[in-house]
Amino acid sequence: MLKLFKYLKPYTLQMIALIALVFGTVAATLELPDYMAAIINDGIAKSDTGLIFHNGLLMLLIALGGAVCTVGVGFLASKIATGFSRDIRNKVFSRVESFSLVEINKFSTASLITRSTNDIQQIQTVMVLLLRMVLQAPIMGIWAIFKAYHLASSLSWIIALAVAILLGIIFVMFAVALPKFKILQKLVDRLNLVTRENLTGLRVIRAFNNEKLEQAKFEKANVDLTATNLFVNRLMVVMQPVMMLILNLTSVLIVWMGAGLINSGNLEIGNMIAFIQYAMQIIMSFLMISIVFIMVPRASVSAERINEVIDTEPIIKDSKNPISAKNFHGGVVEFKNVTFCYPGADTPVLENISFKASPGETTAFIGSTGSGKSTLINLIPRFYDVSSGEILLDGVDVRQYKLEDLYAKIGFIPQKGVLFSGTVESNIKYGAPEASNSEVKKSAETSQAEEFINNLEGKFNAPIAEGGANVSGGQKQRLSIARAIVRKPEIYIFDDSFSALDFKTDAMLRQALKGETQNKTVLIVAQRISTILSAEKIIVLDDGKIAGVGIHQQLLKDCDVYREIAYSQLSEDELETYQIDVNREKAEIESKENPSLLAT
């Protein structure tokens, strides 16, 4: 928590003003009883009406001054606390945006989201409370102790006793309750889990007629939760009556003991009444301070999680002396003895990979899940850096480019079509913010997205919901492809980006892409063998190693792994006739639906 306080620096002046205002509030609160005491001691006893009204007027002014100070405290506290959290939020967000996949995976996306939202919100809540109320407590407490001691030092022990008992009770209560709170949280989680399971498994549960079983599970979680809740709440209900009791008993004790002092002529009545007011202030201050001890540990957990993010330096950064990309063109990708190991893992995911992908060629990667094909292409845009070996782009190690220049060369199409909220157009333009309307339109045409876009209400201005929730998987993929095309990159990377398309669209799309990618380097990761049949170079990966390189027919003959994959997807005669089918289909598409492509 303390570590975060350094971000309060821009607010130093405001903080000073805040503290001054807090002093004002405290002074007003503590002066009022004095004047009241004067009214009683001097006004009433000496029947001095003038003094009463004079003091009354002063009290009014003090009350007003106090109110102004308190409003000021509230104003500054809100500004500082929300400004502070705004700054931290900016800091955390821009830090996360600079992370590479290494850091993202280290924290996990879900955890990063919580850290950027809930944790910061938590800090803000605590900050407001701290600044507005808790900051006042020690000032008020100490000041009131001085005043009380000054008024009647021989009664001070009553306050000390009351505070000690109060803190003792709070301590004991929390010692008992805290472990129960933890259990409570677990039980709430359990109840949520059971409910979530019931909801996600609805069909299966009903298919097996197991509604009763699920009911019993829920019942148990519900009973457990209710029982613990009952215990904890009944424990917490003690708090208020006990606190009231302590405050009241303190007053009685003060009057009783005060009477003795008055009897011996050592205390004036007005002072006794003022003393009661001070006592209440002091007890309340200690109560506030004890709340800090309950609140701050919670906030520090959040603070620590925030600090972790801010303190994490991304591993993958711009090189210190970046090579200007201006002089390097073409898009030749070359892997030289690349080995890659995920951070913290002992076995490499990729081992000794070497190949070259040239412009005008399609290089495809295939292999079973876990063979490392997606990892391999993730190395090109430096989502990760190689463990050994090097990746050359137009002859230059990718690590030597400025990241921005490197990205500018690449058109990346992820497996799940990731879209951002906005419009169809804004999503396509995400690839090239300066693109003209006709370029946007052309890229949508090529990616076979134009037809469905035209069916949307608003066409290119049709809204896209967060994460692209309002378009289908296939539509997302096509828009992702359009987004990459409009960028006019030198290198296309398709990470299994055709999986949600039906075959017809798939074939048409690949045909249309041919024109667009003519002189470009195309890298494709695929699950379906049909997608890559016509690739100029197929690289078969197995367990992180290259198991074969070549074209389809050749690999079918020479490569066991390839054959195994092929046969699991297609039957033998289909594999033979397949090529013919594909060609016929292509011809049909070309002649019927896209005559313009005949030209290419």
């Binding site: 609160t29 009022l32 009214i39 009683i40 006004g43 009433i44 009354g56 009290m59 009350a63 308190t70 509230g74 506290a77 500004k79 606390a81 939020r89 945006e97 992370f99 996306t109 939202t117 507005r132 709170f181 409570l184 709430v188 409910t195 019931n198 996600t200 069909r203 299966v204 549960i205 009903r206 298919a207 009911q215 829920f218 019942e219 519900n222 809740n229 709440n233 009944r234 009556p241 606190m243 009231m244 405050l247 009241n248 008993l249 009057v255 009477a259 006794m272 009444i273 007011q277 007890i283 309340m284 990205y407 690449i410 992820p414 994460g467 017809k504 379906r528 049909s530 699991s568 997807q569």
Partner: protein, 678 residues
């Protein structure tokens, strides 16, 4: 999102103490601090909520009685404490007067026992007497001057005992009240959750197909929590607040009507101020919530699409957008913080005005002799106690509204139309052969939008039916109808000649085994998961089922074998292994018919082969409906149902359909082998 009880207790801890001078911090109710949600129909919802509380009416009456008793005792005490002070004060004045008189008298003057002030004062010159105020003079006249007066501790003791009794009883009653109310609110909360959970299992799937799980989940947690919190706190708060306001006003009047008027003059002012602030702040709360939503949306989107953002050089753009929203958030956040925080200084100020008024008017009245100093002290306590109930009553309307809004959502859910009752249906198919007859079936998820139009097919026991079609063609509709997750609109589905609607749903479902693409397993051991369809299965049966499903091998390789507990996300085994477990589960259930989804996603080639073999084992001798993705399955099927746009557009076997040269043929030629997910 469950509110952490720790924070809550800290908050309530700060709210509780009432008698401290300027109000304790954070007196504003929780609804005043947040956006108030409005229910659609307040009174109807409240009526229902009250009916939920009916079984507890005796307890609730007790709660009210104890709450009122505790409050009354709490209200009575300042006056007694004031009287105690009065006692001290009057004894003190006697003492002072005595000292003054004695000081005037010559030192040698002897006072005979029993001499009263009246006798003594006869000797005092009238000019001297005029200096002493008349009220004191009256007292002096009855004072015994033979001994120096003392503060009467004997009398004070009675006050102390009386006060102790009141305080302890008040605290005790307050605790008893809280104890009972906690019990009631927890039981009602329990009942709510239970009703919701039971409802989940009685609702038709239509309901869930239209909504996210999060929506339903948040009713079980958030909405129920809101209602429970109100029951726990606000209900008694209303009673105590009103009792307190009335009680304090009465007590004030018994002391001095003039001072009462002075302190009450400001009450409407504070009411209006609070109402205005709550109203004003709503706008900023709304804005704050909107910006926060926008901000969180941006965060989630950017973090989820991190790769894409980076590789399209979107980092700077993303940060700029974030900072813009963040600035917007800041401007509404600080205003709403500030406004909601205004409540406290304003109440303190109004309280202090009362304090000043009481001190001045009280002082003036005390000089006139109408009241005594202890009365002023009591009044000050009353004025302080007045703040809290006023803030509470001012925000009760909002608390009630958000409670009603939450309760309304819960009730809406509980009132949803359930699956039709079927108590009178008692046809049970023993030893079903598995003949299925679709007889002129008409169906649409929405009755206005029929998707399956007049479909008939006669399926003989043991046949294999392949359901094919492009993504989104509605292949799961057939599953929904067979299992009676949905009922047909017209026509009938008959099993062994019996209309499935004449059987209980449970009986129909007993006839089918099901392996879907979404591999639902629960947080329990592997053994329990396999035995899900037959909880009384022996270990041998379970192992046999696992072996037939080719799952035994990998299970043995797991740390605790069959005893391994699947974790919450069930990600301690792979996707393919999960699939094998669901096959084993269906295997053990031994049903005459089977529904299978062939699609396997993210499964490596070897596991895929295992799954194929396991499915083959599973289908042996059973009537099987297969959502087919593999050409071999389709070609070998006895019947192929070709679906498009929700409807069954063609049916027949492979050869027939190819010969037809229709939709199937074009699909086949464009090779739809690839396992795209439905």
């Amino acid at each position: 999102m469950s509110e952490d009880p720790k924070l809550q207790s800290a908050k309530t801890g700060a709210n509780q103490p009432k008698s401290a001078m300027p109000m304790g911090p954070g007196g504003a109710g929780r609804a005043a601090m947040a956006l108030v949600e409005k229910p659609k129909n307040f009174s109807a919802t409240m009526k229902k909520l009250v009916s939920y509380m009916k079984p507890f009416w005796i307890s609730i009456i007790f709660v009210f009685v104890f709450a009122i008793a505790s409050t009354v005792f709490a209200i009575a005490s300042p006056k007694i404490l004031g009287n105690m002070t009065n006692q001290v004060v009057s004894d003190f004045i006697d003492m002072k007067s005595y000292d003054q008189i004695i000081a005037i008298l010559p030192k040698t003057f002897k006072i005979a026992p029993g001499t009263t002030g009246a006798q003594l004062l006869q000797n005092v010159p009238p000019a001297r007497l005029a200096q002493i105020s008349s009220s004191i003079l009256d007292r002096l006249k009855s004072l015994d001057f033979s001994v120096r007066p003392q503060i009467n501790f004997g009398k004070l003791k009675y006050f102390v005992i009386e006060l102790l009794l009141l305080y302890i009883l008040s605290a005790l009653f307050s605790y008893i009240q809280g104890w009972i109310m906690t019990g009631v609110s927890q039981k009602i909360t329990y009942q709510f959750r239970r009703d919701i959970s039971e409802k989940i299992n009685r609702l038709p799937l239509t309901y869930f197909d239209k909504r996210t799980f999060g929506e339903t989940l948040s009713r079980v947690t958030n909405d129920v929590d809101t209602v429970s919190q109100t029951l726990n706190q606000s209900l008694t708060q209303i009673v105590t607040s009103i009792t307190m306001i009335i009680g304090i006003v009465i007590m004030m009047f018994t002391i001095s009507w003039q001072m009462t008027l002075v302190s009450l003059v400001l009450v409407p002012l504070s009411f209006i101020l609070i109402a205005v602030i709550i109203k004003k702040s709503q706008h900023y709360f709304k804005e704050q919530q909107d910006s926060l939503g926008e901000l969180n949306g941006h965060i989630e989107e950017m973090y989820a699409g991190h790769n894409v953002m980076r590789v399209f050089n979107g980092q700077q753009r993303s940060i700029e957008k974030f900072e813009k929203i963040n600035t917007k958030l800041f401007s509404s956040a600080w205003m709403s913080q500030f406004l909601s925080g205004l409540m406290m200084p304003i109440m303190t100020f109004v309280g202090n005005l009362g304090f000043v008024g009481v001190s001045v008017v009280g002082g003036w009245l005390a000089i006139k002799g109408t009241i005594q100093i202890g009365d002023i002290q009591a009044f000050i306590q009353y004025v302080n106690q007045f703040n809290q109930p006023i803030v509470q009553t001012a925000s009760i309307a909002n608390v009630m509204q958000s409670t009603a809004a939450a309760a309304e959502r819960v009730f809406e859910f509980l009132d949803e139309k359930e699956e039709s009752a079927e108590d009178e249906k008692n046809i049970v198919l023993e030893g079903s052969k598995g003949a299925v007859d679709f007889n002129k079936v008409v169906f649409g998820y929405n009755p206005d939008k029929i998707i399956i139009k007049d479909f008939s097919a006669d399926i003989k026991p043991g046949q294999r039916i392949a359901i094919v079609g492009p993504t989104g063609a509605g292949k799961t509709t057939i599953v929904n109808l067979l299992m009676r997750f949905y009922d047909v609109n017209k026509g009938a589905i008959k099993i062994d000649g019996v209309d499935t609607r004449d059987m209980k749903r449970a009986e129909v479902r007993k006839l089918f085994g099901m392996v879907l693409q979404d591999t639902w397993l629960f947080n329990g051991t592997i053994r329990e998961n396999i035995a899900y369809g037959k909880p009384d299965a022996t270990d041998e049966e379970i192992v046999a089922a696992a072996q037939a499903a080719h799952a035994d091998h990998f299970i043995h390789a797991l740390p605790q074998g069959y005893g391994l507990e699947l974790n919450e996300e069930a990600d301690n085994i792979s996707q393919g292994e999960k699939q094998l477990l669901t096959i084993a589960r269906a295997m053990l259930a031994k049903t005459p018919m089977l529904i299978l989804d062939e699609a396997t996603s993210s499964v490596d080639t070897r596991t895929e082969l295992l799954i194929q073999k396991a499915m083959e084992n599973l289908m042996k001798g059973k009537t099987s409906f297969v959502i087919a993705h593999r050409l071999s399955t389709i070609r070998d099927a006895d019947l192929i149902l070709v679906m498009n746009d929700g409807n069954i557009v063609e049916q027949g076997n492979h050869k027939e359909l190819l010969a037809k040269n229709g939709f199937y043929a074009s699909l086949y030629n464009s090779q739809f082998v690839a396992g795209s997910a439905e």
